[in-house]
Amino acid sequence: MHLFLLGVSHRTAPVDVRERLDFSSRNVGDAVEALATRPSAAESVVLSTCNRSEIYVASGDPQRAKAEIVEFLADYHRLPADAFTPHLFSLDDAAVAQHLFRVAAGLESLIVGEPQILGQVKEAFQAASERRCTGPLLTKLFTWSFNVGKRVRSETSLGEGAVSVSFAAVALARKIFGRLAGRRVLVIGAGDISTLTAQHLRSHGAGQISITSRTPAHAETLAADVGGHAVPWDAMLTVLASADIVITATGSQRPILTRAGIESVTHRRTEPLFIIDLAVPRDVDAAVGDIEQVFLYNIDDLQGVVAENMSRRGAEIARAEAIVAEEVSRFAAWQRSRGAIPTVVALRQRFDAIRRAELQRLDGKLAGLGPEARARVDEVTKLLVEKLLLDPTEQLKALPDEETQIAYTEAVNRLFRLRDEDAPEARSPITPADRRRS
């Protein structure tokens, strides 16, 4: 059984191709079930996110599986095969494990270390396993990848630190206020980043969101978008007095918040005030940052935070790659040990057949023994076989690389004539003549 992967990702295909091969808009479970009707792809998982559509299969015939998956993609998405085949990439065995482990760790993501991907990998596997499309090999591969993802997250800081301006602002707010539940937000002026930031704050539990704009209609629209309420422009400072987080993004040419203005309403304030100035030119006078309770961040400061986080993530990539490499080699060792199983099984069957044949031959001589003594003889011979095979079995399972394993299994096959159709015990028990020969 081999692992095989065929798919497209943001590295191999432009967005229009990825869109056409996307499974996530429809039910992935249906897709994987449709795929599993093809004989060489009976064990399969479909992983589909906005950056990738990948099909993982465990197949005895990878070449055939490849042809069948291409056929399936064309059928399922109603596309001519040549519309996407140039963008496909494929991987085999250990390379599949390496790829999936890197995906789960967030190393293959567009934004390295982003946290959603591990959940998406889990969902993809779950969808396939609910439809009974996964077997032992894919189950092992995917559960292993979840652990790799977890290890990378807990042992490195690859996923730490916000890498977008709006998330950086939310992370800062959480560092200042702890939980954001019940915190009041004031948005001054409507813009894309300010909307996004307000939405992120809301999703982290921020309470009341007030929005003000020189054009009341803009404030109303934004309020509807983020679930807040619009307040008149003139009431800005009054609302600010009880706000915890202020986001400004107006097109004003002159600062709209000055130190004197803020001090007039925050006098004797005990709680911190976090002001995020996303406007260029700035909306908030730099001197506001000197007020004891005020933390003032402008767009450059936040971009600086993002750049720092990016470089910190960059420094963690090598550590994450090392974890992936270690896990890939452990997975490959596990897979090799699985490769030895047919030989081990054949070896055991061969030994047991010899044992049973010999016991049968001695049946007459043992007739005088009571049932208990005969059971003991049976047990002793079984134990003998077990003991003789213990070391060879462990050695075969623990071989360091595939070549050695092939050489060893071949040697074992020949030494014990495991593939021989007319192996000696199939003919007759070992006779005294056999003994003389040896």
């Binding site: 560092k175 200042i176 304030r269 940052g289 004891e292």
Partner: protein, 275 residues
């Protein structure tokens, strides 16, 4: 007998440092377990000493320091367990280790002056030790608050930013520790005052009791400590002194406590040396 707790505090401190530096969760769990073990062993040591001298061993300054370290460890563990934040361990264990060196190298003799044989004595000493342990926690929380506040204010989100709990958590815990500490300090000082008055009637010739006045540095410093923390509480309520100012005040308060607790107790005071 104080050496084993010291070694365990040392081991816990090292584990907290590794946890803080490398941010390894396993090191953090090990640190908590080691500190828990240290506190248990220390409980046992104090229990043994109590049985040996037949009263809680804080009639000599070294054993009092040892009891203080034990209370600090327990209070810190309580905070750590309730907040699930281990970031302060690296700041608090050095205080435990440093102070525990005193009873190890200068065990002193537990020899109780009959004057001290009063229930008031236990209330006085134990409430003050508990107050000081709370102030120790508040001081460390204040220090970490200032470190992190400075990083956020100056927009250098670096070492402490990624390792410490949020400012809000630090501020709230600091406030709790200060108010609890202040309540016990008030109780301890008030009991000390009342009890001195009573004891003077029964043992008028005791030199310690003679020296028990505002002129004595230990008494004076205790009142300064009380004034500092009272101001911290009032200022927070009326002047809005929370955050960084409150943090600085609690760090200053604990510096005075430490000064009073070690150098003044050993070398300067004449009123609190019952031997």
């Amino acid at each position: 007998m104080n050496l084993l707790p010291l070694l365990l505090y040392g081991a816990a401190g090292a584990a907290y440092a590794i946890h803080f530096g490398r941010r390894e969760p396993a090191a953090g769990r090990a640190a908590t377990l080691l500190l828990l073990l240290a506190a248990l062993v220390h409980t046992f040591v104090i229990g043994m000493q109590t049985m040996e001298v037949r009263h809680v061993p804080f009639a000599n300054p070294s054993r009092m320091v040892s009891t203080f370290v034990w209370l600090l460890a327990l209070s810190y563990l309580y905070v750590e367990v309730t907040t699930e934040e281990r970031g302060m361990g690296v700041f608090i264990t050095p205080i435990m280790i440093g102070l525990q060196l005193i009873p190890v190298f200068n065990p002193g003799v537990e020899n109780m002056d009959p004057v001290l044989d009063s229930p008031w004595f236990w209330v006085h000493v134990s409430s003050l030790l508990f107050a000081y342990a709370s102030f120790g926690l508040a001081g460390v929380l204040g220090l970490t608050y200032v470190l992190q506040f400075t990083e956020i204010k100056k927009k250098h989100l670096g070492y402490f930013y990624t390792r410490l709990p949020s400012l809000q958590v630090l501020d709230v815990m600091n406030w709790r520790a200060v108010t609890v500490g202040w309540a016990f300090l008030t109780l301890g000082v008030a009991v000390g005052f009342v009890w001195t008055m009573q004891a003077r009637a029964t043992a008028p010739e005791s030199p310690n009791l003679q020296a028990m006045s505002l002129d004595d540095p230990k008494v004076f410093m205790a009142l300064v400590t009380w004034a500092v923390y009272s101001f911290a509480i009032v200022a927070r309520r009326t002047l809005g002194w929370s955050g960084r100012r409150a943090a600085w005040l609690s760090a200053l308060g604990f510096a005075i406590v430490l000064l009073n607790f070690v150098p003044v107790s050993y070398f300067v005071t004449t009123s609190h040396t019952f031997q």
